[in-house]
């Protein structure tokens, strides 16, 4: 070992004292303890876990729109200023209806164009895009795509609850956005979810 120019080290001259030996032994024991514990834990570790919403449990996802209020715990309980939960439209299941019950508040007054006057989304996060040319005489039988603007959606779940049979085809669901989720030990949405629908599963990047 090189002499330390800062710390005048006279133990080098006298040889190791009992104190030095005990110190080394204690450090060695500490290293073995930490190393052993870390090794034991590594053997049962995984890359990471993520929070997901179990669609079988979430009441917004599984229940029909039978006059009940949407559960909005996901929107209001995340530790982030804007919840990490988003509504997602599964296009493979979407009926592409003219009057989408997730887009329109179907019980609101009908406007001159025959469509409901109010939208369901409180944040206007859903965009309604007609597919191809729309026949103005028969818009009902055209197809519409519904895109969710994820910068506006906060996962309140109103549209998810509304898009259920008989009115809809349950194409809307709620998902935790992994790119936003801070992956808390104790997910504050999970703490209040009435159905325990937020569950932690191993991350699978596939």
């Amino acid at each position: 070992m090189t002499a330390d120019p800062i710390e005048g080290d006279d133990t080098m001259k006298r040889g190791p004292t009992r104190r030095d030996v005990l110190g080394h032994a204690a450090r060695g024991a500490g290293l073995v303890a930490f190393g052993g514990a870390a090794f034991y834990l590594t053997s049962k570790a995984d890359a990471d876990g993520v929070w997901v919403i179990d669609p079988e449990k979430c009441i917004n996802i599984r229940l029909g729109a039978t006059g009940i209020e949407a559960c909005e715990e996901c929107a209001t309980n995340c530790v982030l200023p804007m919840s990490a939960v988003r509504a997602v439209n599964d296009f493979a299941k979407c009926g592409r209806c003219c009057i989408c019950p997730g887009y329109y508040e179907v019980t609101s007054d009908t406007g001159p164009d025959g469509l409901p006057t109010r939208k369901l989304c409180p944040r206007d996060a859903i965009e309604r895009v007609p597919i191809g040319e729309v026949d103005p005489e028969d818009p009902l039988n055209n197809f519409y795509d519904y895109f969710i603007d994820e910068s506006l959606c906060n996962g309140c779940g109103k549209c998810v609850l509304a898009c259920k049979e008989p009115a809809g085809l349950s194409s809307l669901r709620l998902e935790v956005r992994y790119d936003l989720c801070t992956d808390c030990n104790r997910c504050s949405i999970a703490m209040v979810c009435p159905e325990d629908a937020l569950v932690r599963i191993p991350a699978d990047p596939a």
Partner: protein, 323 residues
Amino acid sequence: MVPGLLLALVVPAVTGESVLAQYVRETDVVPTDEDIGEGYKTPQVQRPLPRATWWDAVDAVVLAVSLGLSAWIVMRRRNRHALVALTITCLLYFGFYREGCVCPIGAIQNVSVAIADSTYSIPYVVIFFFFLPLIFALFFGRVFCGGVCPLGAIQDLVLLRPVQVPRRLDKGLGILKYIYLVLAVWWAVRPVADRDFIICRFDPFVGFFRLIGPGDILIFGAALLFLGIVVGRPYCRYLCPYGALLALVSRLSWRGVTITPDKELDCGLCTESCPYGAVDEMRAVRSSCLFCARCFDWCPRERVRQEGEAAGGNRLTEPRESA
């Protein structure tokens, strides 16, 4: 009755006169791309992936490098300015960029759960973050507290008018962190239904890193920062459960901070300089020294050494006659 048609019939019935007739196409089955026609393709459902695992490796490397830098700056360079630069870097990365997560303090509970509950899966990065600062503490002391911990950093930066806490009060309050450590472990090893990650929940500063948090915790954090203007790092010294672990482990540390570079002048300026009450009889106490490097700035011999180095030599090692 076809369910999709039900709504279509209800809507015109309510409104009376409507330009809309009713759905002729089936709305209770999903239209295929061919039904829609005109070369329509079903859009992709957006599906963001979890944070890539290699980012965990980046976090681990940043932690290891900053721990090494913190030890090198304090024990070799002995320079407070360099340490403040490291402190700010780590505050920005671990605090504001990573939003205070993952951190060794909260990892106490993850590690405790993983040891107690064989079904609990703990991420590799959490194991690494928990053990590496402890291993550094075995060799050098609390280097993590000095330049790396974002919670320590935010408190160190607000410490503008340090006062000395009476030694007895300091010792008494210091016991709180051991109680907190025991509570944290106890709450972690309970059955899953009663488990509570209290360290993360009552983390006073994570709300500032995320720019949002529960009101009571934000007030608690603001109060600690306000108190921290005069009392050096109140969270680290009196509450931090990981600080308790590091204080225990650093008692065994191989090296620690040595204040004077050569001989003592018995001036006692270092004792006065330490806002954490960690200098006792002009020696840095390893269990409470937070590696802030303030004492070097105050030490007259250290100043002589650094001026000498700046002048191109080391005046301390030169014989008095040739100086």
